[in-house]
Symmetry: C2
Subunit: 576 residues, 2 copies
């Protein structure tokens, strides 16, 4: 076995030998560490650590206190535990000498954001604050800051803030400013104690290096940082006078490009991980965005769709366009030197799971059990056996709201065309198709803005479902490429680690060597595609009718639901 090279050439060379990097992917419920060979991206070993506290969405673990609806917190110690548990375990499984490891990179869910003290201590770990819900990291899917997001959007529209169009016209309640404003509104003392308002993506780098850094991806997509500036003090003061200096005081920090070296592994972090002290640590990154280099799909026009419970679409382009309903466009948001575009669908695999869990009768469960296959596989098989159009259905895929291009989380799903002959595989297929139509809307929106998608690359768990993939090929009339790795985000983080460690001059060269995809894995069937053109026309009609204000029934139904439930809760409260 060769020793890791100690000189760091501009491109990988024979000297890199068996040099390895670690990619750590921080997900919603667990973190995964992956050991990757620098020279060719070979994945040598991996391990997962489940967060002890998971998602705190009903009670705060420290006190047992009930949390309000729509809250979702995490415990930052769980993030450190991934370093302590998963990294050494992955090294052990890879069977390599830890001294071969030359760098570590990470990616995180986003916007997952926390209040910290000036030294990086999370407020929830500061003396006496463990019982304060607002002291904890707010997970990306913490949705309780919608009133604050509404205020931000209303004021931004009123003032004509130029950055608003970079986010498709709407700032999400999931992002840094809405969550910070909620903190200010609801726990102003804690807001004052907050020295730094920091993405978990950056906080974990602070833990590894001992120094604060900020990365261009989250600063841009989640922090409303555009053209080098955060929203102005005047704008922030309009939200709340106490909020005027929020960005200056709690966010402002030099922003590093993706793939840059944030610093070196501290002795303490070396102790946690068993890795050599002083190795390179890449700046923070985000799970979806880091997947594009893992698929070696970072050229302009290569759209990577990371398809799981939801879908995130990332694509680079060499020019700026402001597209209604995209999640964001950020200079260097995916790759330094290009404009990174992000779009998304807030419910995809979640919808298919909904059919499996809540709308499929016992007979199918028994059949799946008898054959020893999953209910997903059985429904996919039966759905795949139908010709396109045979179920007579069209659905709107908004059971979890709509992210792109309507940016409206208060929309809901619809199914049209039901008959007494409709069966679970029909509904399953209709929902799969509806999510593919949703993807086509996004692709079409980019094309209309002058940014055509030249290649559609699939990553994420759903890439394993051949039926879903074929529907997407047929609906989009495109051959689908599929990422080679099953650990796209962790591999993407490892690629950034290799660049930070100086083994490659930039992310594209590292991606070419270490990432990859299979091209034209699924070919569109012209006959099905013709049928889908007709169904897509129906989808668009309903999309605009329900989604663009012709009939606000979905909003009214939701308001009625919330009102009714609140009234009942009130009545129960007054009785008890």
């Amino acid at each position: 076995m060769e020793q890791a090279s100690t000189d760091r050439p501009g491109t990988v060379s024979a000297h890199s030998g068996d040099a390895c990097v670690i990619g750590v992917d921080y997900g919603t419920l667990s973190g995964r560490a992956l050991v990757v060979r620098v020279s060719d991206g070979a994945e040598l070993g991996t391990a997962v650590h489940e967060y002890k506290h998971g998602v705190m969405d009903t009670t705060l673990a420290a006190t047992g206190e009930a949390l309000p609806p729509d809250w979702a917190l995490q415990d930052p110690e769980d993030y450190r535990d991934v370093l302590r548990q998963a990294v050494p375990e992955a090294i052990a499984r890879a069977g390599i000498d830890p001294s071969l490891v030359v760098g570590i990179g990470t990616d995180f869910t986003a916007c997952t954001v926390l209040p910290a003290m000036a030294d990086g201590t999370p407020l929830c770990q500061a003396p006496g604050l463990a019982g304060r819900p607002h002291a904890y990291p707010k997970l990306w899917k913490h949705h309780a800051a919608q009133p604050q997001a509404d205020r931000i959007n209303a004021l931004a529209a009123e003032r004509g803030e130029s950055w608003l169009a970079r986010y498709g016209g709407k700032i999400s309640s999931e992002w840094e400013f809405a969550k910070a404003l909620q903190l200010l509104d609801e726990d102003p003392d804690l807001y004052r104690l907050t020295d730094r308002w920091i993405e978990a993506a950056d906080w974990i780098i602070w833990q590894l290096t001992g120094v604060e850094t900020r990365n261009s991806c989250t600063a841009g997509y989640k922090g409303i940082r555009q053209d080098g500036r955060y929203p102005s003090p005047e704008f922030l003061a309009g939200l709340d006078p106490r909020f005027a200096d929020f960005a200056r005081d709690k966010l402002e920090h030099p922003v590093l490009p993706l793939g840059a070296r944030a610093g070196s592994l501290t002795a303490e972090a070396a102790g946690w991980t068993g890795l050599p002290e002083g190795i390179a640590v890449a700046v923070g990154n985000v799970d979806a965005h880091v997947t594009a280099p893992a698929a070696d799909a970072i050229a302009p026009g290569q759209m990577v769709a990371i398809m799981g419970t939801s879908t995130c679409h990332v694509m680079n382009y060499d020019r700026l366009a402001e597209i209604p309903g995209m999640c964001g466009v950020v200079d260097g948001g995916i790759l330094a030197g290009l404009w990174g575009y992000e779009a998304g669908q807030s419910g995809v695999g979640d919808l298919f799971a909904w059919v499996v869990d809540h709308a499929t009768p016992q007979s199918y469960e028994q059949e799946a059990a008898r054959r020893g296959i999953s209910l997903h596989d059985l429904l996919s098989e039966e759905a795949a056996a139908q010709p396109a159009g045979a179920h007579g259905l069209v659905a709107l895929d908004w059971l979890n709201g709509n992210r792109s291009v309507l940016t409206d989380h208060h929309l809901s799903g619809a199914i049209v065309g039901l008959t007494l002959a409709t069966r679970a595989p029909d509904i399953y297929r209709a929902l799969v198709e509806s999510t593919a139509f949703g993807t086509r809307v996004i692709i079409d929106s980019f094309a209309e803005a002058g940014l055509p998608v030249t290649e559609l690359v699939i990553a994420g768990g759903l890439m394993k479902n051949g039926f879903v993939m074929q529907v997407y090929a047929d609906v989009t009339r495109r051959p689908l490429s599929v990422i080679s790795s099953e650990q796209g985000p962790a591999l993407g983080s490892a690629i950034h680690a290799a660049v930070a460690a100086g083994y490659y001059p930039d992310v594209p060269q590292a991606a070419a060597a270490m990432g990859g995809r299979l091209e034209t894995v699924y070919q569109p069937d012209p006959a099905s595609a013709d049928v889908y053109d007709r169904l897509y026309a129906e989808y668009l009609l309903l999309h605009d009718y329900f989604g663009r204000g012709s009939n606000e029934v979905m909003h009214r139904l939701r308001a009625l639901r919330d009102e009714t439930i609140a009234e009942e809760a009130g009545q129960l409260g007054s009785v008890q």
Copy 2:
């Protein structure tokens, strides 16, 4: 025990003693006989005979020949078997001397119609014709005559036929003329051999009495007989020159009012039934219509909703109005001397069964099994536990098409407002509510035409579901009355038998003595009714959007479905 009175007073008297009548209700799969005491309507005994051939909708029993899609035939010998089996068994269960029986009345599904020879022999029982599908009775739900119905409607509209408005603007493919025209189109030889084209409702009376009669209910609602006339020879010739004399040759016959004596029981029929020869036989009638007197709800403004797999609404009024989308208005169609109105919803209990059978996961089935209750009961219980509006859904109840007021069987169902939190009881409740909204549309249409519904009376199997009933009370903002008898149609037939036998001077007096209902069994809850007013407004918006041409997506989806399935069948055919 007193003997049956032999004199027949104008109103029932002590002389009626223990005189009894038989009501026979011919349903889709079986016939039921009910022994009823003339004096007070007491139900003394009942028996059911399942048709040996049931519904022939895939193959013709006599030959095993496959039937085309949408066909539904029956074997008339099954109807005679009900007389042979169910009537004696009901008498035996009642424990009465058959000599006490003074009359027999029947009701039938409609339009169930058959070709017969001049002596009443069904063509399928004529020598050599048992293998010809068109020789058999076409059951009400035989839906293969839609092309013929389309021709009838187009020509009637073109010629401005005055009778068209009496049927809400559309003649159904289920009715006598469409089915006869299909016979002419597809088996003209058999059409020529048809001396009489007769409702099974009238044919069974012919079997009991030996003489042909026609009743005002089926002649009006299913036979397009208005103001004493069938459609003109000119109109019929416009459909097909060979069809010009159809009504004159094969339908025309004196039409008797409901409750009239059609004749006397023949010796042969007395042999089948064990009843005394010569007793009164009432003219034919229809299951839904005959239920109104069974509920003693035949005054103007009393709407009886017979709620089962589908719902039929019948109501008398003293004046004529032509209401878009009603099934028909017929002078004396329900009760001699009043205009009888009929409307309908083509899918009601069928929709709830669809949720139970095809959209409810295993966990509910297990819970129901564990508690020893039906899945309907479990879903009803969970749905009932929600406040109105809490599920955030609104549905269109057209999974089996729409009869009133849109008269469009190619519409389909829709559910709007789905989220990942939607569960089977939510969908169950939303569909129950949607059928109640459908009923409210019908009630409102009558009111707008100047025929207000003053009392809503429920009959049929769904009256046992307290949750469904409460939703209907809340949605319609009306107290609900419920028919007293669980055998509404058979009791209604028995009431007509008592009138035909002369024990009462007319149906209203017989209904007052023998029929009945419980008033105000369900009271609307004002708070729920307020919520339903809002949901009903949403229902109406979607009703008109999808049902009145704003978006013909449901028709296009159906056409695409049929086209796709036909293409695949063609491809399979060409391969095999």
